[in-house]
């Protein structure tokens, strides 16, 4: 059973669902366990992730499953609470006896279940961002989303190309913002970049002109805003309001159309690293990710409305797990783990994955596209 092929033909698969209703179930189902923040403050992560998992598992089952085995999804909603996540993962392992776990919307819940997963010896693909999930490498833990370190590196790479050496950093006080700020500070030296200002704002602040006026008084050559939510849009507007003409960089935290909508004209010329999903139709025909991205985007949008990169991470995690099970021809946990680690040249929504014993994410810096906002839309910076 070739999953890649079936994925590209999934649109047809929906129609086939009715016809395939009468098929017999030969073997025991493959059990995929997941725990996601479907409700609560991190629901913007968990909601598209769960929808993606259900959508693709239904489709795969409609086409006969993996090696003739149906796929079953066991889901628990953590509400973004790391403590709940631990309880649910215990249940997934002990009571539901799942074969592999794909989940963990937030870095906190992923990190807190890792000791359990390692002890039980069950393959776990996390959907959260933090570098610390895969560094140092843990035997049973993998992850699919890009890290904030990669975002900082990608931004600095672009700055080097433009000859920018002095950067003013401004970030929010949320978890994503703080982690991004730390990575930006840590990575600066290796790209010969000097951080000349390090300002912060509250996640719900409504005006950042005070911090930006201070930045205006420094000799910074560019502004880097690591943030999430309304903050970056307000920073963008305030930068223009103060008449600052320095290049403004944002992180992948704002990679959604909402940001352009909120910041309006002020967003023109802003650069940010983002997953290729945002610009799927602008990728060259030869790009191996293009069919995957368009397939995912079209299928998801036909059911639920706009895609987000977060749902894409769930797609990547699920497909990597199922392909590993397919290659291993069993759900033996050790074999599946070894196969996940051998994942190579797998085109996912986040990039082309090449995992190895020393790299449990498998994405390079090329997984990020450097985008610039022009005429209210994303443009790939060459």
């Amino acid at each position: 059973m070739n999953i890649k092929k079936s994925v590209t033909a999934l649109a047809i698969g929906v129609a086939l669902t009715l016809g395939a209703a009468g098929q017999s179930l030969a073997a025991e189902p493959i059990k995929i366990g997941t725990f996601l923040a479907v409700t609560g403050p991190a629901s913007f992560l968990g909601d598209p992730e769960l929808k993606t998992l259900q959508l693709y598992i239904d489709n795969i089952n409609a086409k006969g499953g993996i090696d003739g085995r149906q796929v079953e999804l066991m889901h628990y909603d953590t509400g973004g609470n790391a403590k709940e996540a631990v309880n649910f993962v215990k249940r997934l392992i002990q009571k539901d006896k799942v074969d592999v776990i794909v989940g963990g919307s937030t870095s906190g819940s992923s990190l807190s279940v890792m000791p359990l997963v390692e002890k039980a010896g069950i393959p776990f693909i996390s959907l959260a961002g933090a570098v610390s999930i895969i560094e140092p490498v843990q035997k049973w833990t993998f992850k699919t989303p890009h890290t904030d370190r990669m975002a900082a590196q990608k931004i600095y790479e672009d700055m080097n190309r433009r000859g920018i050496a002095k950067v003013a950093l401004i970030s929010g006080n949320g978890g994503f913002d703080k982690s991004g700020r730390n990575q930006s500070l840590a990575m600066a030296a290796s790209y010969d970049i000097e951080i000349v200002a390090d300002e912060q704002y509250g996640a719900k602040d409504t005006d950042m002109t005070a911090q930006l006026a201070k930045i205006r008084d420094t000799d910074a050559q560019a502004i880097l805003n690591f943030g999430f939510g309304s903050g970056p849009a307000i920073v963008t507007k305030n930068v223009r309001q103060l008449g600052i003409t320095l290049p403004l960089y944002q992180s992948h935290g704002v990679a959604s159309k909402k940001y352009i909508e909120l910041a309006g004209e002020a967003a023109e010329g802003v650069r940010l690293p983002a997953a290729a999903l945002l610009v799927a139709d602008q990728l060259p025909e030869s790009d191996p990710q293009r069919p995957v991205l368009l397939g995912y985007k079209n299928l998801y949008e036909s059911k639920f409305g706009d895609v987000s990169t977060f749902g894409g991470h769930a797609y990547d995690g699920l497909m990597i797990a199922l392909e590993a099970i397919d290659r291993a021809d069993s759900t033996d946990k050790a074999k599946v783990r070894d196969e996940i680690e051998k994942t190579s040249k797998f085109p996912g929504t986040g990039g082309v994955f090449n995992m190895s014993p020393s790299d449990h994410m498998g994405l390079g810096l090329d997984a990020f596209q450097m985008l610039e906002i022009r005429n209210g839309d994303w443009t790939i910076v060459k």
Partner: protein, 293 residues
């Protein structure tokens, strides 16, 4: 340096006027029933969100009509809150009523989440986006709208409570319900009215600030907290005090962000608030509470 300080002050006044507008709504309900209405932030949110919803899309209303509709919707929500949540608990202590308003705020937030989703929204600015230069500092035209709206609303509230019979009747209810009833004031209607007015003011605040701060189902939490701080800093129940408290809080935050540390600006704001309450428990412009009896 002078330019910097000027910018910090302008920023502070802009942010402060949003706090002041929210604080004003707290003052009005406190004036009528001694209750701190923690759903005030949600009135602000509902005002902003309904204006966005009414003006959205091609079939949307023009901005002024959407604003009017939003104020109307929020007023009805405020009155419904009083009628169906506060009024049935008649005779309950002030603390119980405050807890009811906290519950109501969570409920309203939940409804907004279901109706409008989790996204952020923005209203277009009323008169363009071109910043106004004052020296080397800038201010957005929308900020002038917020400040102007604040001035108009506080003068209106001041006039209403001190000069009109209706306003005085509402004040009378808070002083002594039984006595007010005996002189022929319909206490129930007055309370209903007070919630309606507070909701309307909250909605106006929400519409004025939505182009600058954006709005989403949970903006009411932070705005409510800051507005509440403004109201107690200035002296609970005094509309002028709420405005002064809001401006002061905004300026303190922006000066500490600019001159001390942007990471600690909220902490500094709250420390000053605590200090003020420590030395003047009834706020900067509040009368000592014994006088109210």
């Amino acid at each position: 340096m002078f330019d910097l300080i000027l910018q910090f002050l302008l920023t502070g006044i802009t942010v402060g006027s949003t706090y002041a507008l929210v604080g004003l709504g707290f003052a009005i309900i406190y004036n009528s029933s001694d209750v701190v209405n923690f759903a005030q932030g949600e009135f602000v949110m509902i005002g902003g969100m309904s204006a966005v919803a009414l003006s959205a899309g091609d079939a949307g209303l023009p901005l002024w009509a959407a604003a009017l509709g939003a104020v109307l919707i929020t007023t009805l929500v405020g009155m419904a809150l009083q009628r169906f949540a506060i009024a049935p608990a008649r005779g309950a202590s002030v603390v119980t009523t405050i807890i009811i308003t906290i519950g109501a705020s969570i409920f309203l937030r939940g409804v907004a989440l279901l109706v409008w989703g989790k996204d952020l929204f923005a209203l277009p600015p009323f008169s363009g986006n071109t910043p106004i230069q004052i020296g080397n500092a800038t201010v957005l035209p929308q900020s002038l709208w917020v400040m102007g709206g604040g001035v108009a609303l506080v003068l209106g509230a001041q006039y209403f409570f001190n000069r009109t019979t209706l306003g005085k009747a509402i004040l009378a209810c808070s002083c002594n319900k039984t006595a007010a009833h005996l002189v022929g004031i319909n206490v129930g209607v007055m309370l209903l009215l007070a919630y309606g007015i507070a909701a309307a003011i909250g909605a106006m605040a929400g519409i004025l600030i939505a182009p600058i701060t954006f709005t989403s189902y949970d903006t009411g939490v932070m705005l409510g907290l800051k507005g509440f701080s403004a109201a107690i800093l200035g002296g609970m129940g005094n509309p002028m005090g709420a405005v002064a408290g809001g401006l002061l809080l905004g300026i303190i935050e922006s000066l500490s962000a600019g001159l001390i540390s942007s990471g600690y600006k909220d902490a500094i704001g709250f420390i000053i608030l605590l200090l003020v309450l420590f030395f003047r428990p009834s706020g900067l412009f509040g009368k000592a509470s014994v006088e109210r009896v």
